[in-house]
Symmetry: D4
């Protein structure tokens, strides 16, 4: 199937307030290049997710040069970035260094939508003083995106300390009983803190979209 | 352990904006009665969840009479109900008749917090005209709580049609491959619609608490 | 074991109405070449499935040249293709771009059997207007093959809108809670729409064979 | 929620060719009685599934008397049964005695739709001569519904012997590694015979609906 | 098999330092009575675990009267209790009220071995101030037994705050994604705090035995 | 750890009648070379299993030349092969071509022990006439090793047709619902034919050892 | 379905050397009574398995009196028992007291076939001296049936100590991580001792049938 | 995210008695180099775990030379090693040769903390005489770390023979039903020997940290 068969959902922004994005996993560099040609012809911009460095380097040079690429989060911006329109509403809290890739995917998805998010990293509960040292800062944000793998215990601790919305993103960090993120996911879903909300494993993009939905409705 | 050993988290409402509630599953009628005595002595009110009809009828008559009990949702209010303070912000959409118990748990948890939610039931996507007939009404709410078991397909359809926040509650309705709600949960987490948020299986209570967090921050 | 030990089930077409096909996963290029030699000697034709591009390029040049190979669906035709004998009976509906490979496997298996299928792609329910725009066209076919990964919600929507037979093919598209297609499979099996039928994950070939069985009996 | 809140999908028969049915598991006798009152007022008929004997006996006497109840399959007919309109098109093959309940659910769902199905029971492959003795009879039907638990091996054997459509229904018969029907389901989905189609575990009702879809389109 | 066929491992106390105990689940009241007769004849004492109240009441009156029974933990002492020989070495920390049964099983197993354990209950991390208020007390014990269900987040928080040995006991408290204790177990095993040790789900008995092994070697 | 730390269980042949073998997966070529040096110094022979072609080619040339290597089954003989001492007692039946690697591992393990096994391949039940054409031959052997993946239906058919011992080996052949051999394993364990015995997935070696145990005791 | 529809496989004894038996789980007392009437009319005898005490007591008095019933193993003999024809070939080793029910099912199935098996109970490896005290006795039998739940470690220990055939029966004894026998099953299948053979969970009947197959062929 | 964003938990040694370590899986060679620069600047030492040989060779030469690297255990020491301060308290028992990598990770983590552990390898229970020959030596240690994959039977045997603390480490050694270490983990958790303690799969590091906690408290 040629990429030209792709039916873009161009009306999505109007309908649900979220820009169309391209999930690059499972698509060839050639398919992505064709998509970028189309977007370029329309004169719009685009967010690419799950674009790993190897595939990025296989893109035609003119596309590669046009992309604002982040290897850690495997995201890229195509076309001009809109100005920041929202600040101070969202903080992304990542439990460990290894969770930073997913946290960055969330941050860059938000930035593409014109939202600047704060970031607090390496505050896992195994050294809870690190989290406590920054909890007053975190509590000032109405939306907290909590990113954690393994036991995901930080989600429950945050849920008991902040009033705002807590959007949890389990990550596939860990091994053995971490079960590729399934344990973190289940722990967040069955948290002892009430009212947490959960996204798919490693889905920084999904958490960002959920936060945009909330801001679109209320802010 | 006597129930008097229970340490109530009385400051919770101030800290995270959610009232303390009692999850009755796994507690005996005697334990629940002791808790009600304490709450009564303090002169506060309380929400009880997962209180099945059998256990309700085993409570001492004075407690039974003091409870506003709903058998379908297995919830009860103890003490005076606060007046409605928020209206028109939340709609609960339930796919099938069998999902109504969970939807009702969400509605009654919200009502206990002073929030009146609208309810749209029996609009599963197998007869999508039923959902389409009410979609304009649903779209007017900034928060949609989607309750569904089995394939949970309604969550994705809603996610593509509404701008607001979509809080998904998978239910354990179904058999065989429905896997006690696990299939609905996974389908909601891996929805093709971006930005959905998910709670634990059958957790109408959790969805309501999440909605209260959002309203507390923004509304 | 040499490929010559393979016992072809040459009478299969007479017995169950389905041509023998070769599943290439787990077979070496050398084994496949030997099979093609045998088929060539018999003067018959053959469908090859799960033949990835690397293995295709390892085949001896004379075999490579004799194959009508499709990289997207990893299928190949060996020998002359029979003319189209059935049209207008089957439509293949694929939820997303990433499901196209499996949809194409189904289409090419059908074409090998002389059946021309229509194809409707990129109509996932997250943008349900795309499906609704083509539903009247889809309803005209007595057999609908629905191909979808992740939440597979399109299967239930179709099941509630069409009278004909709905053959569901879950795909392994997605990540995390999509569980390599297991979530799509379970969602299709526990659909709220009655009378859906399901094949193995990613089995476009199996769906096509099932459709051929129906046409063989009735059409 | 009162049963009167149930929104019947009365147009379903016209839209997808299948009558509305009531799945009684999880509904109280009182709720079912209310539904029957409504159906009675409309003057239509109804199929009830998963109605166990205890619940049947809790129904008001007038409803109990009006039902044509089958304890083995836990199904009941309410209202006059339509005459048989199709014969000789469907055979239901059940591997073991314990699979008979599910087979009977399929047969009675078909009969409610005016279709008379033949039944072949106790032909599990552990004594394959029993199946072989009846295979010529089975092969004459264009649709075979194969009902089996445990290893579900009969589905593959049938799939290699009959030309027609094979609709598989895994059952929860068995213990330990049978995993409540999951093993039978997976074995049917990954059968070595091509083109089998599978329903949810224990879903005789689903298999019957699928067969009706095929007959509606072709016969 | 008559209970008299049971071969007691009377030398166990000498060999591994742990008294023989009887796990009553799956044994009839008659079998337990026979065991008590034997123990009585030998003049020794015995710990019984998983003895639910119903079965306790079915025991012959003379045995029932001789038992020191605790309904919450389903444990009983038969024969004279040895004096306390160790104090101040073990603290049992239980996250929620519902975890108290398992915590009590651990405490009573320890007490049967002559060890007095302290107990800290209802300090789940959703209200982390409750844990922090008692952390200095907890840190004074060389062995901490952490009992928690659902997300089991308290184990990681403790692991980062105490120097001593942390023995984790996951409980089956919770529903849905808690997966009967499997989520708590996996979260404890994949904790972000290093050096935690884990027992089987609900095994307060096992945690106590492990603590006794440590004390036997070092204290 | 150097390979010289390996403690060979040289007395195993005397104790349980099975020669020591080396499982090469997870061992480096260097470790295997050291083992062969030791065995060579002792003047004994050895069976190597799970030795893939890449690792075989990395062995020092003198060891490579000394091995009788079979790429399909990933087995090798080191040292002189003992003469055949048993014939006509064991037949290996493999359902499909892809199962041949595992069947061959069983055959070569038996041959290393001096047992010549017959082989019947490509007799899957999807074309049951292929099995029936050879069933009289198969029935003459007191031990049948049945090798099959996917649905493993052949095990049940054989179990109902032969009097002898049936040792089942599930294989990881298949995809999706075949679950890497778990479905075949479960189907064999829950077969409708009584008295089947099962080995680990892909363990042709294990099946051969089991057969040797039987022959050692009885033949 | 009336029980008279059951097709007995009367030729089974001739074909595969195993008597027909009736698995009573899922059959009503009435259905079992009808089967016994038929068997009585034919003048043959029958083994009944999984007949629990409640159902046994619901049978008509004449049938109850005619049965040799064992409550522990839930088995019953109907009709005269054939004399013992084989002795000294099979020993059943059960790890714990709780495994005795499954061990007894195996023993009584063997006895029904005229085979007298020895029994060694309560020799779990946690007190390995108990097993070692009897290992010389156990080694004298050519067939060992090892029955164990939980960790099933006894199977591996036996496998390394005896030359004969080891037939493993995992039991559902245990809780939590024992996973209803799945852990014991997997441990037996992946034993470090070579050549073990495994039956379904709790299937003492299956192990006995497998042993009969071996004896039929060789002894 | 640059590695400089990593927040080291430098106070950890004081707080919980365990040195900070770096888990290298998922970190790039560049990130690890930056961490080493920081540690070097502070003048402290560091343990690195899960550092595979490829990544080690990608480090800048000056870092590579400064590391004491062990390829088998994938661990490295950076900076001067502290002198041995504890001897004769811990023995590591590994069931098979393939478990040696995990055993070595435990030993080297202990050595980094100044603890010298003894090692007993290749004493799997399939040849139980190997374990028995060394059991008196093993029993002299107050802490036994038992490392085993597959069936993990050695843990139960040790648990019944030694008085001391038994810390179990399941390994991912094995295939098929070994389920990547999950079977060993579950077998250790549901051991028939009382009072065993378990770590995550392949976590030699975790077992060592647990042992250090015990020694810190008592020795």
């Amino acid at each position: 199937m040629s990429a030209s068969e792709v039916i873009f959902d161009h009306g999505r922004a109007e309908r649900i307030g979220l820009d169309e994005a391209v999930f690059c996993e499972g698509k060839s560099a050639a398919q992505i290049a064709t998509i970028l040609d189309e977007v370029s012809a329309r004169g719009t911009s685009l967010l690419l997710t799950r674009l790993d460095a190897d595939k990025f380097h296989q893109l035609p040079p003119e596309h590669g040069a046009a992309l604002d690429f982040c290897a850690l989060s495997r995201t890229a911006y195509f076309g001009p970035l809109r100005p920041v329109r929202v600040e101070g509403r969202i903080v992304i809290v990542a439990a460990g260094t290894s969770d930073a890739a997913v946290a960055r995917e969330a941050a860059r998805t938000l930035r593409h939508a014109g939202i600047d998010a704060s970031m607090v990293v390496d505050v896992g509960v195994a050294g809870i003083w690190r989290l406590m040292a920054r909890i007053d800062e975190i509590r000032r944000f109405p939306i907290v995106i909590a990113v954690a793998g393994m036991d995901a215990a930080i989600a429950s601790v945050l849920g008991g300390l902040v009033q705002g919305t807590v959007i949890c993103v389990p990550t596939s960090v860990g091994y053995g009983a971490a079960e590729s993120g399934r344990t973190a996911l289940n722990a967040m879903l069955s948290s002892c803190a009430p009212g947490l909300l959960t996204c798919n494993i490693d889905s920084g993009y999904g958490a960002a979209c959920a936060a945009i939905r909330i801001l679109n409705s209320f802010a």
